[in-house]
C-alpha cells in the first residue's frame, strides 16, 4: 500500500535516530508497590527519584507502579533494576528471587497496626471479645494495614478468617476507619498513625475510637496494637549491576528528604518480618500452610494410630486367614491322601477277602475238583491203554484208532476247561463290568458245580429263562455268588433223606432286572441263623470261615441288587438274588 510506505520509513528513521542519538541517559527502572494507585505512588516517590537523578547524572530513573502480582512478575522477568515494596512482599521476593535491600525507609509512619473499635462499644473490651464480630481491614496483602494485625490476632489464637467476619475494604485505608466509625463494621485494623493523621485533618475525633489492644513502643508516638516492624526497603534485584546498586545506595543514604517526608537509612534487619510470615504461614512460609508429614503426624497421630492399628489388624487377620487356609488346605490334602490310602487299603482288603473267600469255597470244592478232573483223566488213560493194547496185538483199525485219539484230545480239553474255571475263580482280579446274560452265567456255574452235587447225592435241576435282559457287572463275581449258594444249599441237605434231596436253580425276570433263586430241601434256618445269616464270620459249618454269604451279599449289592433268604413252605430255604438290568447306553 502506498500510504504505509512513508510510515515505515519514518519508523525506521526514528529508530535509527534514537539508536544513533548521542549518549542517551541510561534508564534505571524502579518498581514500586502502588496500593493507592499509580499517580499517588509516583508522587510519593518523586523526591527519591529526583534525588537519584541528581546523584547519578547520566541516568534517568523511571518509577514503575506495580501491584503485588506485578512486583513478582517484574522481579521474575528481570524487567526492573530496583524495587520499593512493603516488608512482607520484600521478604517473599527475597526468599524467592534473591532481591536484597540496599536501604530502608526512614521516618515514615511506623509499620505497625492498630486494632480498634468505636469507643461506645461496651461489648468489645478486648481482642477476645471479637469472636464472631465483623472485622474490616484494607487488603490481605497490606503488611502494616492487615498482616501485622493478623499476627497479633493469631498470637491470641484468633483466626480472623474463621473466627471473625472478615471483610477487606480496599485502598485507601481511610475506608476502614469510616466503616468502623459508622458501625458497618464492629472493629477494624489499620496502619498505625492513620487515626492520628485523620484526626489531625479533622476527619475524625480520636475519642470516638478505642483500641482493642494496647501495645507500646518507645520509638512510636501513635497508638499501637502491635509490634513495630522495619519500614519499606529499597531493594536491588539479583541481576542488578553491583556498581549501579552501590551508587544508588550511596545516593539514597545521602538524600535529604523534604520536610515531613521519609528518607532512607541503612538496610534494617527484617527478621521480625520473617517471623511474622512464618507465624502466619504466608509468603515464603506459605508451604507451611500445606501440612508437612511431620505436622500431620503430630496433629492426627491418634487417628493414624487407629488406622495403623486397623491396618495392622487387617494385615494380621489376612495373614492369619491365609495361614489357616494354608493349614486347612494342607490338612485337607492330608485327609484326602489319607482317605485315598484308606480306600486303597479297603479295596485291597476286599480283594483279599474276596480271594480268601474264594479260596475257602475252593477248598470246600477241592474234593469235588479232584473228582472232576479224574473223569477226563481216567477216560484218557482208558483210551490210551486201549490203543496200546490193540497196537501190541496188531488188531488195529485205522478209523477206530483215529476216532479214539480225537476222544483223548477231547477229554484233555475237558480237563483243561475245568482247570481254567478254577484258575479264573481263584485268581485275584479287579472287577470287570461287562453286560452278560445271567442265565448263561448261572448255567456255567451250575456245570462247574454239577459234580459236587452228584457227589453229595443231590440232584440239581435248572430252570433258566432264555432271553433275559443283560446285567451290567462282573460275571465271575456273580458266578462266585451262585456257587456259594449252591454249596450252602447242598451242605444244608446232608441230613436230608436222599429221596427228598433236591436242588433247584431258577433264573427269571424281575421288574427292573433279573433274579436267580437257589432252592434247597435242607434243614432251614435257626433263629440265630436267620438274624446273622449275612454277618461276616458267622457260620454253621464246623470248618467254615463264614465269609461266603457276607461276601456274596456285598458283591450283589455292589451290582445294585439284593440278596436275601426266604424259607420254603415245606422245608429248606430259597436264596434269592436280584440284579438290575444294564442301562441302555445312550448314543
Amino acid at each position: 500500500m502506498r500510504s504505509l510506505r512513508p510510515f515505515i520509513v519514518l519508523l525506521l528513521w526514528l529508530v535509527a535516530g534514537v539508536a544513533v542519538a548521542a549518549p542517551a541517559p541510561q534508564v534505571v527502572t524502579i518498581g514500586v508497590l502502588a496500593f493507592l494507585g499509580a499517580e499517588r505512588s509516583l508522587s510519593e516517590w518523586a523526591p527519591t527519584r529526583a534525588a537519584l537523578e541528581r546523584a547519578l547524572p547520566g541516568h534517568s530513573f523511571e518509577l514503575i507502579p506495580l501491584d503485588i502480582a506485578g512486583t513478582r512478575r517484574a522481579v521474575a522477568n528481570g524487567d526492573i533494576d530496583f524495587l520499593i515494596t512493603n516488608p512482607g512482599n520484600y521478604v517473599e521476593l527475597e526468599a524467592a528471587y534473591g532481591v536484597s535491600r540496599i536501604a530502608t525507609l526512614d521516618g515514615g509512619d511506623a509499620v505497625a497496626s492498630v486494632i480498634f473499635t468505636r469507643a461506645d462499644r461496651a461489648d468489645l473490651g478486648g481482642l477476645d471479645d471479637l469472636k464472631g464480630a465483623s472485622f474490616m481491614a484494607v487488603d490481605r496483602n497490606a503488611f502494616g494495614g492487615f498482616q501485622v494485625a493478623w499476627r497479633e490476632l493469631v498470637d491470641r489464637r484468633i483466626d480472623p478468617f474463621t473466627d471473625l467476619r472478615l471483610r477487606f475494604s480496599g485502598f485507601p485505608m481511610d475506608q476502614v476507619v469510616q466503616a468502623v466509625g459508622e458501625g458497618s463494621a464492629d472493629a477494624g485494623a489499620v496502619r498505625a498513625c492513620l487515626l492520628e493523621r485523620m484526626a489531625a485533618e479533622g476527619r475524625i475525633r480520636l475519642a470516638d475510637f478505642k483500641l482493642l489492644h494496647q501495645a507500646r513502643s518507645p520509638e512510636v508516638d501513635c497508638l499501637l496494637s502491635s509490634r513495630v516492624y522495619p519500614d519499606w526497603p529499597f531493594a536491588k534485584l539479583a541481576g542488578t549491576p553491583p556498581a549501579l546498586a552501590k551508587q544508588v545506595a550511596t545516593a539514597l543514604l545521602a538524600m535529604e528528604p523534604p520536610a515531613g517526608q521519609p528518607g532512607w537509612t541503612v538496610p534494617l534487619d527484617y527478621q521480625s518480618v520473617h517471623e511474622l510470615m512464618r507465624t502466619l504461614q504466608i509468603g515464603p512460609y506459605a508451604e507451611l500452610g500445606q501440612p508437612t508429614l511431620v505436622q500431620l503426624l503430630r496433629r492426627y497421630w491418634h487417628w493414624l494410630l487407629v488406622v495403623a492399628a486397623g491396618l495392622a489388624w487387617g494385615a494380621i487377620h489376612l495373614w492369619r486367614v491365609e495361614h489357616l487356609v494354608r493349614l486347612r488346605t494342607a490338612e485337607l490334602e492330608l485327609a484326602l491322601a489319607e482317605r485315598q490310602r484308606a480306600e486303597e487299603r479297603e479295596r485291597l482288603q476286599r480283594q483279599e477277602m474276596d480271594h480268601v473267600s474264594r479260596l475257602s469255597i475252593l477248598g470246600e470244592m477241592a474234593g469235588n475238583l479232584a473228582h472232576e478232573l479224574n473223569q477226563p483223566l481216567a477216560a484218557i488213560t482208558n483210551y490210551a491203554d486201549g490203543c496200546a493194547l490193540r497196537l501190541e496185538k496188531g488188531s488195529v483199525q485205522r478209523d477206530e484208532l483215529l476216532d479214539t485219539t480225537h476222544r483223548i484230545a477231547e477229554q484233555a480239553k475237558r480237563a483243561g476247561r475245568i482247570i481254567q474255571r478254577i484258575r479264573s475263580f481263584v485268581r485275584k482280579r479287579d472287577s470287570v463290568r461287562v453286560p452278560f446274560d445271567l442265565s448263561e452265567a448261572v448255567r456255567e456255574a451250575a456245570d462247574f458245580f454239577e459234580g459236587q452235587a452228584r457227589r453229595r447225592g443231590v440232584p440239581m435241576t435248572l430252570r433258566l429263562e432264555e432271553g433275559l435282559p443283560p446285567v451290567d457287572g462282573d460275571r465271575i463275581q456273580v458266578q462266585q455268588v451262585v456257587l456259594n449258594l449252591l454249596q450252602n444249599a447242598v451242605e444244608a441237605m446232608d441230613d436230608t433223606p436222599p429221596r427228598q434231596r433236591a436242588l433247584r436253580v431258577t433264573t427269571l425276570r424281575r421288574p427292573g432286572g433279573v433274579a436267580v433263586w437257589v432252592e434247597d430241601r435242607g434243614c432251614g434256618l435257626s433263629a440265630a441263623a436267620r438274624d446273622k445269616l449275612f454277618e461276616p464270620y458267622f457260620t454253621t459249618k464246623p470248618e467254615g470261615i463264614g465269609l461266603g454269604l457276607a461276601l456274596s451279599r456285598s458283591i450283589i449289592e455292589a451290582h445294585g441288587g439284593r440278596l436275601w433268604a426266604d424259607e420254603n413252605d415245606d422245608r429248606g430255604i430259597t436264596m434269592k438274588a436280584t440284579l438290575p438290568a444294564a442301562q441302555e447306553k445312550h448314543g
Binding site: 474234593g367 479232584a370 473228582h371 479224574n374 473223569q375 477226563p376 483223566l377 481216567a378 477216560a379 484218557i380 488213560t381 482208558n382 483210551y383 491203554d385 486201549g386 490203543c387 493194547l389 490193540r390 496185538k393 479214539t404 476222544r407 477231547e410 477229554q411 475237558r414 452228584r454 457227589r455 447225592g457 440232584p459 436222599p498
Partner: protein, 204 residues
C-alpha cells in the same frame, strides 16, 4: 445155560463208559454199557456170565443200592466198584455189600483188566459150575429111587456086598442098579460119581 461172558459197565459219565468199553474190548471182552443202575437192572439176565463194573456215585439209584438189589435177587454176578479219589468209606461200604473189588480213578488199567478178567473167569466158572450141578441134579432125578440109593452108597465108597446087605437086596441086583445109575449119570468110575454127587450137594 451160559453164554459169552460180558462186562457190564454202569457209569453216568459218557466218557467213562465209552473209554472203558474201548479198553475192555482191546482185550477181547464183550462190553455192554448202561448210563444208570435202573437201565442195567431192566436188561439184566442173571444167567449171563460176566462182571459188573459199577461207578459207586451216581444220581438216582446209587451203586450201593444196585448191589443191594442184586443181592436180593440172589445174583452171583461179581461186582467191581469204581471209586473216586479218596473215597475210601464208600469203598468199604461197597465191599461189605458184596463187591469183590474196588478200583480208584484214575485207574491202573493193568490192574483193572486183570481183575475184570479174573472176575469174568470166576463168573464163568461159577455159572458153569451151577449149570453142571443143575445137570447132575436133573440126571439124579431121572434115577429110580433104588438106583439113587445105590448111587449114593457107591459114592460113599461102599462095596457091593455091603450095599446089598444094607438095602436087603441081592448083590446081583446091586450090580444091576449100579450099572444103570452109572450110565444114567454118565460117570465112569465111582470117583466120578462121588464128585458129581458132591457137586449136586452144593445146590442143597
Amino acid at each position: 445155560m451160559t453164554g459169552e461172558p460180558t462186562v457190564f459197565v454202569v457209569d453216568d459219565d459218557e466218557a467213562m463208559r465209552d473209554s472203558l468199553q474201548w479198553l475192555l474190548r482191546s482185550v477181547g471182552l464183550a462190553v455192554d454199557c448202561f448210563a444208570s443202575a435202573e437201565a442195567f437192572l431192566a436188561a439184566y439176565d442173571p444167567r449171563r456170565p460176566g462182571c459188573l463194573v459199577l461207578d459207586v456215585r451216581m444220581p438216582g439209584m446209587s451203586g450201593l443200592e444196585l448191589q443191594q438189589r442184586l443181592a436180593d435177587q440172589g445174583s452171583a454176578l461179581p461186582v467191581i466198584v469204581i471209586t473216586g479219589h479218596g473215597d475210601v468209606p464208600m469203598a468199604v461200604r461197597a465191599m461189605k455189600a458184596g463187591a469183590i473189588d474196588f478200583i480208584e480213578k484214575p485207574f491202573n488199567n493193568q490192574a483193572l483188566l486183570e481183575r475184570v478178567g479174573a472176575a469174568v473167569r470166576a463168573s464163568t466158572a461159577s455159572l458153569a459150575e451151577q449149570a453142571q450141578a443143575r445137570e447132575i441134579r436133573a440126571r439124579l432125578e431121572a434115577l429110580t429111587p433104588r438106583e439113587r440109593e445105590v448111587a449114593w452108597a457107591v459114592a460113599a465108597g461102599k462095596q457091593n456086598k455091603a450095599i446089598a446087605f444094607e438095602l436087603g437086596i441081592s448083590p446081583k441086583t446091586v450090580e444091576v442098579h449100579r450099572h444103570n445109575a452109572m450110565e444114567k449119570m454118565g460117570a465112569a468110575t465111582a470117583a466120578d460119581l462121588a464128585r458129581m454127587l458132591t457137586l449136586s450137594g452144593r445146590l442143597e
